[in-house]
Amino acid sequence: MPIDFLPVFLMVAVVIALSAFILTLSRLIRPHNPYPEKNRPYECGVDHVGEASAGMFKVQYFVIAILFVVFDVETMFLFPWAVVLKDMGLFGYVEMFVFIVLLLVGFAYAWIKGALEWVS
């Protein structure tokens, strides 16, 4: 069975090699003529102010990230459960039901609390 995954790693190697090849090829044939004006970050021609990556984002992005983590993890439980649900029968269903309901409680809380509202 581990052999099934070997192609995965081969593929990674192939793609990286391919990209490297394309990049090198391009490097060989393209012009290279940088100067400070050209190298400035894109800002519609205006001089830019401050660091872009200073971490000053709308807080909603973080909220989304946190919610994502929670639900993504739930997916992790759901998949194996879905595979064997037939064998587990009602008990398995009820267990997952409780799990999902608990999550929904949290989700409802976040919703009502306004965590999902993008425009405040």
């Binding site: 008990f91 608990l102 409680v105 949290g106 409802a108 809380y109 009502i112 609390k113």
Partner: protein, 483 residues
């Protein structure tokens, strides 16, 4: 699993389910803002705790394991659960006022408290390393958030972040130990693990490594030296009631796990950890007592004091046997009551925005608030272990267990260091009774805190004057735990 097993399992975890349901209901209620919401949620939480306590007591009639041996209801867990209920209830009582003065009244507070409580309960009842770990994290995660509950207060945020990082770090250590133990035994179920370990040589390096990681992870949670550096910062930064909660409920649960693992089910690891834990215990006592001498913030001082008390608990653990176990349990009971009492006083002194947490703020208290000062005096004396307060019997019983088990030298260390520890409790007493204060603390004791004070004060005095009943209970629980 057939249906009867499922029902009995669900029944066995009834108290946990009640608390979690309560938390969910409270969560939903907290979404509907309205006047008196705090009181409503606090009341609801208290009712839920009372229900759970009643259920626990009922379940204690016939000890049983549930969920395929992963969860247990025995005298041991019932005792600890009662402690957890008590600690949480007291915390709830002292919280309302604090949230008011700090302007942080939000319904989620009680929800988180209940979740933390349920996590702690699962820890106490867990009979499987995985379950214990899950409970521990449930409790820890809730407490992380509680520590940072004062969202606009930088101290609180910082404390929370530090706590998350170090808490996760210690969980990592614990987990690593868990994974190695699993590899060695092929199970995480404690009893099976114990049986499997019987055939493993204790000199096996892998086992030693596993034990060390497991114990270090747990000692982190208790705040034993040299894994204590997080305690003062976090105790100082956290909201006062939460600090009280952490130092009691959090500690109770962690100690319960340690006892469950080290004395009960994995007792065969004893030769591996004994030596180092002895050193840790003495160091913990010493470092806690000495560091507390120079503190100026009362919560920081209590943090170190709580470290020192952790050292005493470890001594009880070292004494081992049913006596040692019982001594730790009694100690925790008395410590919970006393410490939360003192935190009630701290909450009373709070003037918002973290003001009123300096030790100096206690000065002149005896003049402006003689009643509260008297209670604080008793709590402090109890923490110092001066009779006739409960603290004396707590320490005394640990000493009895130690001497009984033949660790006289450790006992001598313990008493000498507790003499040093008395110094900083005395300092607070001195401030209260012997110093003048131009701006004496002015406050009204709210009914909730009043009740908390009455309960803790009575508890402290009662355990000091008539400890027989409490002793008997903890001894019975300890015997049940070992049986």
């Amino acid at each position: 699993m057939d249906l009867t097993q499922i029902t009995s399992s669900v029944l066995a975890s009834g108290p946990e389910i009640i608390i979690i349901l309560g938390a969910c209901v409270a969560l939903m209620l907290s979404l509907v803002p309205r006047p008196g919401q705090g009181a409503l949620l606090a009341g609801l939480s208290l009712v839920m705790i009372a229900l759970a306590a009643a259920m626990s007591l009922t379940l204690a009639q016939n000890p049983q394991t549930a969920y395929g041996g992963m969860f247990v209801n025995d005298g041991f867990s019932t005792f600890f659960k009662m402690l957890l209920y008590l600690g949480t209830a007291l915390t709830i009582l002292i919280s309302d006022r604090y949230l008011g003065t700090e302007d942080a009244a939000k319904g989620e507070y009680y929800v988180l408290l209940l979740f933390a409580l349920s996590g702690a309960m699962i820890m106490v009842s867990g009979k499987d390393l995985l379950i214990i770990y899950v409970g521990l994290e449930l409790q820890a995660l809730s407490i992380y958030v509680l520590v940072g509950f004062l969202t606009t207060n930088t101290r609180s945020n910082e404390a929370a972040l530090k706590y998350v990082i170090l808490g996760a770090f210690s969980s990592g250590l614990l987990l690593f130990g868990l994974s190695l133990l699993y590899g060695l035994t092929g199970t995480t179920q404690l009893e099976a693990m114990g049986e499997a370990l019987d055939s493993v040589e204790t000199s096996s390096p892998l086992l030693a490594l596993a034990t060390v990681f497991l114990i270090v992870g747990l000692l982190f949670k208790v705040g034993a030296v040299p894994f204590h550096m997080w305690v003062p910062d976090i105790y100082e930064g956290a909201p006062s009631p939460v600090t009280g909660f952490m130092s009691t409920v959090g500690k109770v649960a962690a100690v319960a796990v340690i006892l469950r693992l080290l004395i009960q089910d994995l007792a065969m690891l004893d030769p591996i950890w004994r030596g180092s834990v002895e050193a840790v215990a003495v160091l913990t006592l010493a470092a806690g007592s000495f560091a507390a001498l120079v503190q100026t913030n009362i919560k920081r001082m209590l943090a170190y004091s709580s470290i020192a008390h952790g050292g005493f608990l470890l001594l009880g653990l070292l004494a081992g046997g049913s006596e040692g176990l019982a001594s730790v349990m009694l100690y925790l009971l008395i410590f919970t009551v006393t410490n939360l009492g003192l935190f009630a006083v701290i909450v009373l002194l709070n003037r918002g925005a973290g003001q009123g947490e300096n030790i100096q703020d206690f000065s002149g208290l005896a003049k402006s608030q003689p009643g509260v000062a008297l209670m604080a005096l008793v709590f402090l004396l109890s923490l110092a272990g001066i009779p006739p307060t409960g603290g004396f019997f707590a320490k005394f019983y640990v000493l009895v267990a130690l001497v009984d088990a033949g660790f006289v030298l450790l006992a001598v260390f313990a008493v000498l260091l507790s003499a040093i520890a008395a110094w900083f409790y005395l300092r607070v007493i001195m401030l209260m009774y012997m110093e003048q204060n131009d701006q004496p603390a002015v406050f009204q004791v709210s009914p909730a805190i009043g009740w908390a004070l009455i309960v803790t004060f009575t508890g402290t005095v009662l355990t000091g004057v008539l400890p027989a009943w409490f002793l008997g209970v903890s001894k019975a629980a300890a015997t049940a735990g070992l049986g």
